[in-house]
Subunit: 347 residues, 4 copies
Amino acid sequence: MIYFRSDYSQGAHPKVLEALMKTNLEHTDGYGLDMHCEHAGQMIRDLIGIPDCGVHMMTGGTPCNVTVIAASLRPYESVVAAKSGHAYSHETGAVEATGHRIVAMDSVNGKLAPELIDLAWEEYEDEHTPLPRMVYISQPTEIGSVYSKAEMTALAEKCRARDMLLYVDGARLGSALTCEGNDLSIKELAALCDAFYIGGTKNGALFGEALVIKNKQMNDHFRHMMKRQCSLLAKGRLIGVQFEVLLDGGMDSIYFSMAAHANRLAAILRDGLAAMQISFYSDSQTNQVFPVLPVNVVRSLEKEFFFYEWAPEKNGSIPIRLVTAWGSKESDVSAFLNRVRELQKKA
Amino acid sequence: MIYFRSDYSQGAHPKVLEALMKTNLEHTDGYGLDMHCEHAGQMIRDLIGIPDCGVHMMTGGTPCNVTVIAASLRPYESVVAAKSGHAYSHETGAVEATGHRIVAMDSVNGKLAPELIDLAWEEYEDEHTPLPRMVYISQPTEIGSVYSKAEMTALAEKCRARDMLLYVDGARLGSALTCEGNDLSIKELAALCDAFYIGGTKNGALFGEALVIKNKQMNDHFRHMMKRQCSLLAKGRLIGVQFEVLLDGGMDSIYFSMAAHANRLAAILRDGLAAMQISFYSDSQTNQVFPVLPVNVVRSLEKEFFFYEWAPEKNGSIPIRLVTAWGSKESDVSAFLNRVRELQKKA
Amino acid sequence: MIYFRSDYSQGAHPKVLEALMKTNLEHTDGYGLDMHCEHAGQMIRDLIGIPDCGVHMMTGGTPCNVTVIAASLRPYESVVAAKSGHAYSHETGAVEATGHRIVAMDSVNGKLAPELIDLAWEEYEDEHTPLPRMVYISQPTEIGSVYSKAEMTALAEKCRARDMLLYVDGARLGSALTCEGNDLSIKELAALCDAFYIGGTKNGALFGEALVIKNKQMNDHFRHMMKRQCSLLAKGRLIGVQFEVLLDGGMDSIYFSMAAHANRLAAILRDGLAAMQISFYSDSQTNQVFPVLPVNVVRSLEKEFFFYEWAPEKNGSIPIRLVTAWGSKESDVSAFLNRVRELQKKA
Amino acid sequence: MIYFRSDYSQGAHPKVLEALMKTNLEHTDGYGLDMHCEHAGQMIRDLIGIPDCGVHMMTGGTPCNVTVIAASLRPYESVVAAKSGHAYSHETGAVEATGHRIVAMDSVNGKLAPELIDLAWEEYEDEHTPLPRMVYISQPTEIGSVYSKAEMTALAEKCRARDMLLYVDGARLGSALTCEGNDLSIKELAALCDAFYIGGTKNGALFGEALVIKNKQMNDHFRHMMKRQCSLLAKGRLIGVQFEVLLDGGMDSIYFSMAAHANRLAAILRDGLAAMQISFYSDSQTNQVFPVLPVNVVRSLEKEFFFYEWAPEKNGSIPIRLVTAWGSKESDVSAFLNRVRELQKKA
């Protein structure tokens, strides 16, 4: 079986495990108040060039999204997001559980745009309607697309004009930063938004995300919010240790080389499938590929490859999702392309 | 100034005030545990032909919606509603404040339909998504349309098939039940849904709505929920007394004659405007009329009539909302139609 | 039957009903944005000598408490209150429903004191504990006692020292302000706290409380919070109209004369019972009296008088609660005292 | 420096890391739907002798407590706990964040007792008060004491009599089960309560707790609740893998031998200190020891040993907390006792 199931189906990059091994018997303070978390935080501040931002080691992406939103908004304020955004589409109402509406917008290619923010504001009138106060986006999006520098700048300007906070879900941030065509550096991203996170779970960590909060008000008493929202890990240092290894070397670290590797394999997949005249469900630039394949091809492929069907069958075809990761091999990709080629020939 | 602003811009029908006067010095138990509330509850049970349902005297429509939803759903469950539904469009996220998502659907003429419920379910996958468990509709809708018996039956059947609860916001229920073309009686409505309320605020009461809960599980400990959700009035009997008067005589009561009166005047407005080739923003059958008028006509009318602009200007025209109520007079309606006619001639 | 059951068992002072009658057919804007609410608000600003505070017409006491707390606190902050405080003891967890803990302190005579606030802070450590941020007290307390000027000043100073907000539940504020021994004027009270309300429901209104918010941050977007917390009444003017009548004349208004009347009758009850060597459950100074009576005396009295047993039997005696109100008569009080005297003689 | 700071200041037992290493490159389903979680769950069902209970792999203790409570209670229901219970004392109001009150009881030795549950019920009256519905206890308690079989049985019976759920926080369950004097087996514990968890974080895991839910209604849709409450880990298998190792061999597994080791060292500490006539802050039977030492002794000890001061100074003495863990050595304990002996002699 060859796996294109997800970028969190394996454990961690061996160097991550090695570091956990090496630091295992150290005694440290709990709850992220240790030298490893402090050091990792400092590495991140250096990487993004913002010396005084908050950096918090979080257990997962949903905890990041929920804790940031609950910490940032007053009770009557809402979040604007794409309907495909993870916080709306795959978190079981965890944001609403903290009392806030997500105004969910239909979007093109998974991206929010300034016009969609204006459209969301059409629902606002006065004290009878929730006040939109934060924009939630994912970079890359859940279907693999990437905001360009121009797009992100336009969003940030719209947010400033509307007095809204801009928060970026970076579950696969490495993949966005290293993909072909990306023109938005991590420093530029950090400069444009109020908060974002650098996802570890989907890029070589056992688990853990590094949440960066620039906005002072959002960061105020944030550790109280982490505890209240069940996202403060007792052995917080585990996340610090992982990010120390992942980001060692900055833009030359394994964090970015793993992401680049996954992107490279995805590009091969994409190019190979396109060459076979196969169309795609979304315009992904990163480590997810969404070919639309005939049902019988999908059924055959399922016997050798593990992947998800992404949407229901339509006109005899099914969009599937192929995810490459740090652990994927070039041979996996060749095997897949070869098999599709064979199946096409048979047909 | 002539008022078509809303159906809650005046106080109460004189008979309501009279009853409050007459019972004013009675000593009763607080919080709705008095003979008037009990009696009004019994009158309602008789009216709808369901002897064992819960009837609760509520202070307003938002308290009804929020308390019912919070009482009925488990934390991970969501409500499906039209985007124009009051609970989504005009309650400042009060439902989300109790931790539940409203899945808000674009709809035609303000109505939900079985297909839209199916569409909402497309967002559901598994434990990563909120579970749709209740359908919220308004009868009539916020833009005046009315579900027919066939439409309401289809919704109820879809709910049963999907294991969902059906809740009907009856802020203007009298208006739906007495409008021309209505073929759904209050007994039939009650039989089809799990809970609904008979709105008093918008039909001759000072304030107050009578909430009917047939579903035993939804009604369990409901008074605890009322107190928790701030919707238990100390002098609850005030609402009971009002409904005793309003519903005295059943279908021949002032509750229904007031609604019929408002509907009749709205029909005159509607017919008169249609005769002038004026088009409408929505297909209202009840006491709200939404003509689309040229900007300069609207500006002139505003000097003599009080009404709301319902949506922003588009192509030189503005949809306005005219509401008739128990206190509206036929002469108000004639005056309006005459003035429009004059303004049309001038142009 | 003679009633000492509660101060909300009757309707409203006749002048209140009269005013509702007189204004009944006026057309006004909804949701408290009308001339009556504005006028009543101005009357209150004049009365307390604070020209720029927020005044909001609320439907009840629980809505006041809950909306103020939810609007004022960040999610991880808590409220300190006496265990007997209404927000803890009789609101079904409505405060916790908004996500905030009430740190409930055992107290003497129903009052919080600076030492109890310090004691509550002993539960605070760091991000693992909720941060106490508001003090909730009732003036008078739920068992009738009244904070003196010195006591209230000490609480306010403690709050300032601890960076806490001071909120005063004034469900029976009239009773505190007019009771014998009170040395704290409404202006002084207003000057010492961040927010308080003037209770109407328990002093001659049909329903309604006037909430005063001095603190600018607490008042920010408060009307959004009212809608979100289900405490914005459609015909808000009903509350405005009532307070216009109740407070007409300021300290000489019927609001204060009704309260003084009830206090005077309660004092007669208290003195009469004390003269019979009867002891009291609490040291009430206002319109509630809590005599502790032998079980058989209670059983006899129950046949002619309506009152609540306040706590379970203990050593053959039961504390009962007698409440006088604007509608109580001196003859009611004499009848009660005579009956107790007779029952004592028999024994 | 010698560490008695906490039982989560080091990483994991070497065998745990080894297993994570060995399984690192396996591809599995995410979110706990993998063979390791399933296997660990089965091992636990076998260990407790309950074949059909739910077992969920959780990231930490607070997520267990909060998710269980939020999943089990209707909105108006409350939890009864000791004031020293972790869910009340050290979780920043995370339970209240889900809308439920914790009725916090002063207790002796950190334990709840049937009488305290009755006392909590004295706060309940009717719809004006939250309904106590769950009892939360910790085994062992936060200050090291252990419920005997008789005590736990009495609690369980009281819960049944009161129609309450019994939930046991087992953050240090291994320590309770292996301490001297314990007479309550894990099977008996499981039989008596509705849900409990087997804590990994404080006994040799990197992180993770195994939550056992016997009660079918509490377990219904529990995975939805996990996601909603931010406690569903993407690589859930990490927790499964750890529990497979920890519990391999059942009562003879390293889970129990680590706990027994820590208990044994704590007992040596306790006996040694008692022999020096030193008194204790609590009657701990497990791996926490709370000697009360003169301030100057504490100050001297702090130079060589790491521990927490547990409560403020009183009469010249300070209660400190010494925690032993799987990684503690007998020589650590001897060193501590010798140093105290020396300091006593000097005095």
